[in-house]
């Protein structure tokens, strides 16, 4: 191979690697946010609907067990499929730092429901064997830790959006959300099952279902919040490139 050809190969490699490093497509990120938000809204509503049906109609509790397991599986299966499909094509050319952040966010978001399901199964077995009391406060601690981790992950996405849009003050919104989530968790953990007088719960008159303030807040943030951030990132991407979608 002659010198010109060697230099040509070297320069092509420089161009390719530099372009790979500099190109960031946020297409996958906004799609993931929208899928994640929609999934959270649909599954949360489905879980409350199944509880309402069981307690207010003649449907058996077996139905509740089935829907609970199904919802738990879907809560990580849908984001996992979306993550694999959306990010697969971006892997080949995107900035590796951006990909690392997305990977961290996606892996934790997908694994959290899996871990919770495993812990619930262990807990269920321990309760069945009489190793734990029926009204186990650990359940509430577990839900609150999951919501808190979710708030931290949401803060991560807000920081990314703040950097994309070059609006540093948006990070404050993320911090406020994290603070509110921590505050609500603190209140709820102060009234653990067995000691609580349901003062931290919202009930629906005529229906046997209770929702905690924390879970309502988590529903709004991790459902509607993710969709809003997804739409905002989409608009930013379209405005800055005019070609990515």
């Amino acid at each position: 191979m002659n010198t010109a050809a060697n230099e040509a190969i070297e320069n092509i490699n420089i161009i390719k690697s530099t372009m790979d490093e500099s190109r960031i497509s946020y297409t996958g990120l906004y799609k993931l946010c929208i899928v994640f938000g929609t999934c959270n809204i649909v599954l949360t509503l489905a879980s409350y609907l199944s509880v309402l049906l069981v307690f207010n109609t003649f449907i058996t509790t077996g139905f509740l067990t089935f829907t609970t397991v199904l919802i738990r599986i879907l809560s990580f299966a849908v984001p996992l499929i979306a993550y694999v499909l959306i990010c697969k094509k971006e892997k080949s050319y995107n900035n590796r730092f951006y990909l690392s952040i997305i990977d961290t966010w996606a892996v934790i978001s997908i694994l959290l429901p899996v871990f919770r399901m495993i812990i619930n199964l262990i807990q269920y077995n321990m309760i069945s064997n009489g190793l734990l009391p029926q009204t186990d406060p650990a359940q509430m601690v577990l839900i609150n830790s999951e919501d808190l981790s979710g708030a931290v992950l949401f803060l991560m996405i807000i920081i990314i959006y703040s950097n994309i849009s070059r609006k540093p003050y948006i990070k404050i919104i993320g911090l406020i959300i994290l603070f509110i989530q921590m505050f609500l968790s603190m209140i709820e953990l102060s009234f653990l099952p067995g000691t609580a007088d349901h003062s931290t719960l919202i009930s629906f008159p005529g229906y046997e279902v209770y929702m905690t303030f924390s879970s309502i807040f988590a529903f709004l943030v991790f459902g509607i919040g993710y969709i809003i951030i997804g739409v905002l990132i989409k608009k930013k991407v379209e405005a800055s490139t005019g070609k990515e979608s």
Binding site: M1, N2, A4, A5, A8, I9, N11, I12, I14, I15, T18, M19, E21, S22, R23, I24, R166, S240, T241
Partner: protein
């Protein structure tokens, strides 16, 4: 473009890197600094040269009481770069053939 007509702007590796960075979108000075991994002085000199040759344009804005320059590849810069990449491909193909 042929081997003897390669513009001066594309005869130096750092300048090739800068242009490659600007192909996808405009970049700030700091972003270019991170991507090219060079010194501030060297980057400034090469950016000035590329601007003189009308390969790039710069846009200065004041943000948080600090001036911030954003660099964009011009149509002329993009055309020259595309022709240069086509030339490199041709050289490699000819050598392989």
């Amino acid at each position: 473009m042929n081997m003897n007509e390669i513009p001066e702007a594309l005869c130096q590796k750092l300048r090739i890197k800068i242009i490659s960075c600007l192909v996808s979108s405009s970049k700030t000075f700091n972003e270019l600094l991170t991507l090219t991994q060079t010194t501030k002085g060297n980057l400034s000199v090469q950016l000035m040269k590329l601007e003189e040759w009308h390969y790039i344009t710069s846009d200065k804005v004041i943000e948080n009481k600090k001036s911030k320059s954003t660099y964009t590849l011009t149509d002329h810069g993009m055309t020259q770069f595309e022709e240069y990449v086509a030339l490199l491909k041709q050289i490699i193909e000819e050598n392989e053939g």
